[in-house]
């Protein structure tokens, strides 16, 4: 092959790959772009709309027609939220239960996962099955209710964190990650004279950060978003949670929906006339923003975590 022919060929190849966009491609990509734009709008618009309403003057919001920007800017709704003592209690409870159940849950699940990830553990198979069964067999609402009653955790703060410490799926996800770690780590630590607890705490846990971040996010989101526990197991004002307060507002809005001329109840709060629609928007935002704050930072972890969870062996 002479030099000139080689040159010619590479030129040809280059040319062939440069002209990639056929008319069909252009149409397809524009359509795809439109679709993605639609997707982004559908996913984001309702959130932005609620945000706009939360910053609008409460009484004005009732007229409707607010889309992406508040018509009359006002912080009245947020002031009302943070002046309401019940909501403050709810906010505090939500944060407390989220922190406690995330840390506790991570600890319990990772201990279980560590033991199950060690191949030499005698009852590994049995314990795995014992745990997996809990994913499929649930006693149901009423027996659980009476169990909590018998344990004496009904209508106490403990009901928020104690029952949810263990999650079979989380254990399996963490276990899969730990199984992927090289065995030599554990062996080296063992030769150096570390006991199992020390190996777990000082060798394994620090390198499991990605999976712990994933599971921690799940636990935190699950705990923060949970309203049902409050509804059924903790029916007391000092145990209120943010999601449950919001749920009550949503439920009242749902029952009002069947009257065409939707006239919301009005109340005087902190010098402003407060409307349920504004209140709901503000609480929605307060209940959502903490999650939106952590979510982008942990995103790279949880995609990996889901992947690990889906290909467990």
């Amino acid at each position: 092959m002479t030099d000139s022919r080689l040159k010619q060929k590479s030129k040809y190849v280059k040319a062939k790959y440069k002209v990639k966009q056929t008319p069909g491609d252009i149409i397809f990509h524009s359509l795809n772009a439109i679709l993605m734009l639609f997707l982004v709008v559908v996913m984001l618009y309702p959130m932005l709309n609620t945000l706009a309403i939360s910053f609008n003057e409460p009484l004005d919001s009732v007229r409707g027609g607010i889309y992406l920007w508040p018509r009359i800017f006002s912080l009245a709704a947020y002031e009302a939220v943070f002046e309401n003592e019940l909501l403050l209690v709810a906010f505090r409870n939500s944060i407390a239960r989220t922190i406690i159940s995330t840390i506790g849950g991570l600890f319990v699940c990772s201990v279980a996962a560590y033991v199950l990830s060690r191949r030499e553990f005698l009852l590994r198979k049995f314990v795995t099955i014992y745990f997996v069964v809990t994913m499929y067999v649930a006693a149901g609402l009423i027996p659980t209710f009476f169990l909590f009653q018998d344990l004496g955790i009904l209508n106490t703060f403990h009901v928020y964190w104690l029952p949810g410490l263990f999650g079979a799926f989380n254990v399996i996800v963490i276990r899969s990650y730990m199984q992927g770690l090289p065995d030599s780590l554990v062996e080296a630590a063992r030769i150096d004279g570390a006991g199992e607890f020390r190996i777990f705490l000082q060798v394994i846990l620090p390198i499991c950060k990605p999976v712990l971040a994933t599971v921690g996010l799940w636990l935190a989101v699950g705990s923060w978003n949970d309203w049902f526990t409050t509804e059924v197991f903790a029916r007391q004002n000092q145990l209120a949670t943010l999601q449950h307060e919001l749920m009550k507002l949503v439920a009242s809005a749902m029952s009002e929906v069947d009257t065409p001329n939707n006239i919301p109840g009005e109340g005087q709060l902190g010098g402003h006339i407060m409307t349920p629609i504004a209140m709901r928007a503000a609480i929605t935002m307060v209940a959502t923003i903490p999650i939106l704050c952590v979510y982008p930072f942990l995103q790279k972890y949880f995609v990996k975590g889901v992947h690990v969870g889906s290909v467990k062996g």
Binding site: F28, M36, G64, A112, V115, A251, D258
Partner: protein, 525 residues
């Protein structure tokens, strides 16, 4: 096969005689194991016999049964059986029976278990291990069957015929036997029990035979391996220390509530000490009520719509996102599409309500585009509830569901695309002939598994999005349990419905799992 055959034949060649092939100790232990086996078999007979003779058999176990090992192996069942035989023929001698069962059976058990332990440790004969395995299997299953039968008999006769799950015996075992013996002899066992009622109640709440089953199963697993493993248990004590508290925790919070299923055979009223048994009345009520058809239709329709919409939308979206070439745009779009997954259903419902209400954006849009002639209150229309719920589900979870497909797509060999391009395949050709077949097994597994969850039509979403007008279309099994159990305080019915759901779900999931094992060579369990 045998580890220590007789070395010195005393009377000529004895190797043809089976008895001399094994050392004498072996036969002794073999005999011990046989006794266990016979006893457990007798236990079985008595359990079965109880089942057939329940009406004539109305004793209370308190006054009759007494055995140290009852709690573990329910030897009192044998006793109960003999008692019922004697009582029906009128030749009952309480003192004699008590002595037999106070000392006789426990002693036999003790001795035979000692033999068993020696045999397992000393003679690793296959025959023997197999034999003792069978014995353990039966001892493990017996209490389990006993518990189920007790529940079943009580349910069938709508009465509290058989009072406990072996707890009384355990209780009596813990107490001073002399004291108990006196109480029994004087025929005031009931009073005696009621004096210690608080401990007694606490003990009755625990299904001892179930625990015995559990212990026996663990023992079985340990014994099935060679005995080196028993010493390994000690070396692994750290693991056991870590895992046993968690196992107890799981037992309390996941398995103990299953005992509450007996509520579905009772007319349960909180606070009452004795709950009357009603048999299958609640199940009958649920199946024959007009509700059943409606609730099942709603459940199946919702999960069917969720299944179809969920799968098509997320596969479609994954294909489309996969076609985006700019890496950064791709990541931003993915991030935005996950967003609703992290909102709670409460927030989602609030947003959806805002979106769909009479003067919400959807109505504005539809009227301005001229598609609808007048404003519609979608949330108040029963007919559009299923569709609305399905689309809400898609909105909330479509982005999240694409993760798994996109992950599967990255695993496809890029060379396939290149060679397809050379062969002249277009964009859609590649999509249909490479990408989709590439994620076929993922789709199949997810599809089969979600069929396994056909009765789980969601709880939060329909509950939060329904109202009085749409409730007839919104009430699925989970909602039914909630309304019945929590709002109308109809605990037994709700438990029965929940139990029905769980049992059907487990059956479906098992079938689905087996199917996915066969079809896709992949399984979730």
């Amino acid at each position: 096969m045998s580890s220590g055959a007789i070395t010195k034949p005393l009377y000529g060649d004895t190797s043809n005689i089976l008895f001399y092939r094994y050392p004498r100790k072996f036969w002794v232990t073999f005999g011990g194991a046989t006794i266990i086996l016979v006893l457990t078999l007798l236990n079985w007979v008595s359990v079965v016999d109880r089942y057939f003779n329940t009406v004539t058999f109305q004793m209370t176990t308190t006054e009759t049964s007494f055995g140290v090992f009852t709690a573990l192996f329910k030897s009192s069942a044998v006793f109960d059986w003999l008692y019922s035989r004697q009582a029906s023929s009128g030749s009952y001698d309480p003192a004699m029976m008590l002595n037999i069962f106070r000392f006789g059976f426990p002693l036999l058990f003790l001795i035979s278990f000692a033999f068993l332990a020696i045999a397992v440790v000393k003679y690793k004969s296959n025959i023997f291990i197999k034999f003792s395995n069978i014995g353990f299997c039966i001892t493990a299953i017996t209490p389990l069957i006993y518990c189920v039968l007790v529940m079943f008999i009580n349910a069938q006769h709508n009465a509290f015929l058989i009072e406990d799950f072996g707890a009384k015996n355990f209780f009596l075992m813990l107490l001073n036997s002399q004291e108990v013996g006196d109480a029994l002899a004087q025929g005031r066992a009931r009073e005696f029990l009621s004096e210690h009622v608080s401990i007694y109640n606490g003990l009755t709440a625990i299904p001892w035979p179930l625990i015995a089953s559990f212990i026996s199963v663990v023992a079985l697993i340990l014994l099935r391996k060679d005995d080196k493993k028993l010493t390994m248990v000690w070396h692994q004590k750290a693991f056991f220390l870590m895992i046993i508290p968690i196992m107890i925790y799981v037992f309390i919070f996941s398995f103990l509530p299953l005992v509450g299923w007996q509520m579905s055979f009772q007319f349960f009223q909180p606070g009452e000490e004795v709950q009357p048994w009603v048999g299958f009345q609640h199940f009958n009520n649920f199946f024959t009520r007009g509700d059943f058809q409606r609730v099942m239709t709603n459940t199946l329709a919702m999960s069917f719509i969720n299944l179809i919409l969920g799968f098509t939308s997320s596969i479609f979206l994954a294909l489309m996102i996969n076609e985006i070439r700019l890496k950064k745009t791709k990541r931003i779009i993915q991030t935005i599409s996950y967003l609703p997954h992290f909102l709670s259903w409460v927030v989602a419902a609030s947003i959806i309500e805002q979106f769909l209400k009479g003067d919400g954006i959807l109505n504005d849009l539809m009227i301005n585009l001229g598609i609808w002639e007048e404003r519609r209150l979608i949330l108040a229309e029963p007919d559009s509830f299923w569709g609305m719920l399905g689309i809400s589900n898609v909105w909330k979870s479509v982005g999240w569901n694409t993760i798994i497909y996109l992950a599967a797509m990255t695993a496809i060999d890029p060379e396939l695309y290149e060679s397809a391009e050379i062969d002249g395949a277009g964009r859609f050709g590649k999509m249909f002939n490479i990408t989709l077949p590439g994620i076929k097994s993922t789709i199949l597994v997810l599809l089969i598994m979600s069929i396994g969850f056909a009765l789980n039509a969601g709880f939060e979403a329909p509950l939060l999005l329904q109202n009085v007008m749409t409730r007839p279309r919104a009430e699925n099994i989970d909602l039914n349990v909630f309304f019945q159990g929590i709002q109308q305080q109809n605990h037994s019915l709700a438990t029965a419905v929940g139990m029905f759901r769980t049992v059907v779900a487990i059956i479906l999931i098992t079938i689905a799992n087996q199917a996915s094992k066969r079809l896709a060579k992949e399984s979730l369990v």
